[in-house]
Symmetry: C2
Subunit: 374 residues, 2 copies
């Protein structure tokens, strides 16, 4: 095992899937590139289009064009050839790759005699522990998320309750779409974009991954889950609040109080050395004790059916997870804490902050008050 | 080969990398899911979080939770187990996967006795031919891109030339960042987002993948490359224009005229049945003939060093490419046509439209005039 850990790492990734590549090389590619990390020596193979930027952005990596590697002309556009000829140039015959490494390239390398070891875990496990610069970058994205939340809260405050309980704002029906535009506009002003901002009301709020659509209504839960990515750094932020315009039903009010308590308890538990699954189990047990078991019936899911948290960094979901998985929380981890309860007959409530784990416990990166009734 | 084409297709993909999954299943997942396409029967395995949406969005696919498949509890979060137990349930022992299928899952399946055939080409080659609904979706994103271009052009028109030739707008220096915010704001109003809008001036414009930063200047090229993705449909648009505030240098003016001629000639050539590489060669040859060879010297690249075009759809770069690759252009292809010339001592010029190939030739999806001097 120790020997395997010294083996060079090979990555073939583009911009969207490439968090490990960005982390390992410092380079944000647009098109797929090849990266060989021999620890003491790093090499990129990039298309001509990426050449200048790669040389500027990459941390101490030598940058080759495929044309530099003696690749036969008819293979010049094959990523497998880029990787293979680079490995030959470097005299590397065994490499480690991640589980999501392209199977087609792995097969081509093996056929050419390269030994390809697939890492069971992460190729860069050290990514989970954030540097100060990374924490600053995530904080910036989280501040953008808070700005989006503030803008949305202001709209909900200004909104009026019209006929049938439907919300109206600036003379028109307030929809999930309109509120999402307000949030995403605020994110943009903070250098961030978000494709999937969640503004889910009423029964839609009972589905944690529903983006939300259509008119919003008084007396029902409105879940706002804002996870922007900074356009320059690539780091994410993540925050969720749940609001209700006008008086909630007693069942919804009780659901909110329960999630808020779970959120506070989970935040208070977190400290370095604690297994993440202990936090998740505490939240799950608390919900069951309070009368919210997780059940699937006739295709409808009720209760708590996602993790209590996940790492945040160059990926929106990364290590460590705070779930049933047996992980250990460590100082420098940046994680979300986001218990939630869902029931299509009541609505949905989720409260989420992103925190950095420090010696004394969890520190919230950027804060927004827990206001429920607007 | 015919036999292999009837083999079930297996996909394990999340939102960002998942154009084939979206295409094959109709479902836009957030977290990774497993999709088995047996042509006559389609099946998804999704986490509980995705369950309701998958059942609503997926086209005629049966949706399973991992819990439905008899997976042992300790493997319940393994995507390999989801795939393996689904294949067993369906009695499938051989599958086709794409070249970018995760190598770790391919290995796990093979160890469990599943035969995994890696498709040398695309898993859904039919994706290149767009349906009318897809053309409408791309047109919508392209209209957003044109709206962004219009907004940017207005700003450049309003801008004044200040001391040293630096542009000023609304009392402040006009930077790439400010102009990008104007563009991205316009895209947002049209339901689209763009992470990497290019606003590159002067020497930065000579690098086709440089996003651009800092103050913009009169008399230099300003390349605006706008490629938004529609938040709901996931389809992209792509347009580029090059502007110059105030009089350009003679060298830049000549570069612009040359690219504009190449762009018009390429558009006029395109028709179903033509090899894409013929279009690319015509553009490349024209540039050489006009005195713009492609050369790399001391790490600086000059000339024309990207493809003439690429397919646009659920991916921003997809089949077919109009490049050195031997492809055939067909009716229903949606492609960009984007010749460009680059030289750090002169600047950069790229002119790009996105077109659908019809019986009679290329039809531009949404148009913006070719204005150079602002």
């Amino acid at each position: 095992m120790a020997k395997q850990l010294t083996l060079p790492r090979l990555l073939v990734e583009g911009a969207d899937s490439g968090a490990n590549l960005v982390y390992g090389s410092g380079f944000h590619p647009v098109d797929p590139v090849v990266f060989l990390d021999e620890s003491t020596r790093r090499t990129l193979v990039v298309p001509m289009l990426e050449y200048r930027r790669a040389r500027e952005e990459a941390n101490n990596a030598e940058v080759f064009l495929p044309e530099d590697l003696g690749i036969p002309k008819k293979k010049m556009r094959s990523l497998s050839a880029w990787a293979l000829y680079l490995l030959r140039r470097r005299g590397v015959r065994r490499v480690r790759v991640g589980g999501f490494f392209p199977a087609g390239i792995a097969r081509d390398l093996e056929r050419a005699g390269v030994r390809v070891l697939i890492e069971p875990a992460s190729l860069y496990p050290e990514r989970a522990i954030k540097t100060n610069a990374e924490i600053a970058a995530i904080t910036k994205s989280q501040q953008a998320a808070v700005a989006g939340m503030r803008a949305a809260h202001r709209v909900l405050k200004e909104a009026e309750i019209g006929r049938g309980g439907w919300l109206r704002w600036q003379g028109r029906t307030l929809t999930s779409e309109r509120l999402r535009d307000v949030i995403d506009g605020a994110l943009l002003q903070h250098g961030c974009i978000a494709r999937d901002t969640i503004v889910a009301g009423d029964a839609q709020a009972a589905d944690p991954h529903e983006r939300g659509h259509g008119p919003l209504r008084a007396g029902t839960s409105i879940v706002l889950d804002i996870f922007p990515r900074h356009k320059r750094t690539g780091y994410w932020g993540d925050i969720t609040r749940t609001f209700c315009k006008g008086p909630p039903s007693p069942a919804l009010a009780r659901m909110y109080r329960t999630v808020l308590t779970a959120h506070r308890q989970a935040l208070a538990m977190i400290r370095p050395g604690l297994p993440g699954n202990r936090v998740h189990e505490a939240v799950s047990d608390f919900f069951v004790k309070e009368g919210y078991p997780t059940v699937v019936q006739d295709g409808v899911v009720r209760g708590f059916f996602h993790g209590t948290g996940h790492g945040v960094g160059l990926d929106i979901h990364e290590a460590p997870s705070i779930s049933r998985a047996e992980t250990q929380l460590l100082a420098g981890h940046v994680v979300t804490v986001e218990p939630g309860l869902y029931d299509p007959d009541i609505g949905g409530v989720r409260i989420e902050d992103t925190v950095v784990i420090e010696k004394r416990g969890a520190r919230i990166l950027a804060s927004f008050p827990n206001l429920f009734r607007v």
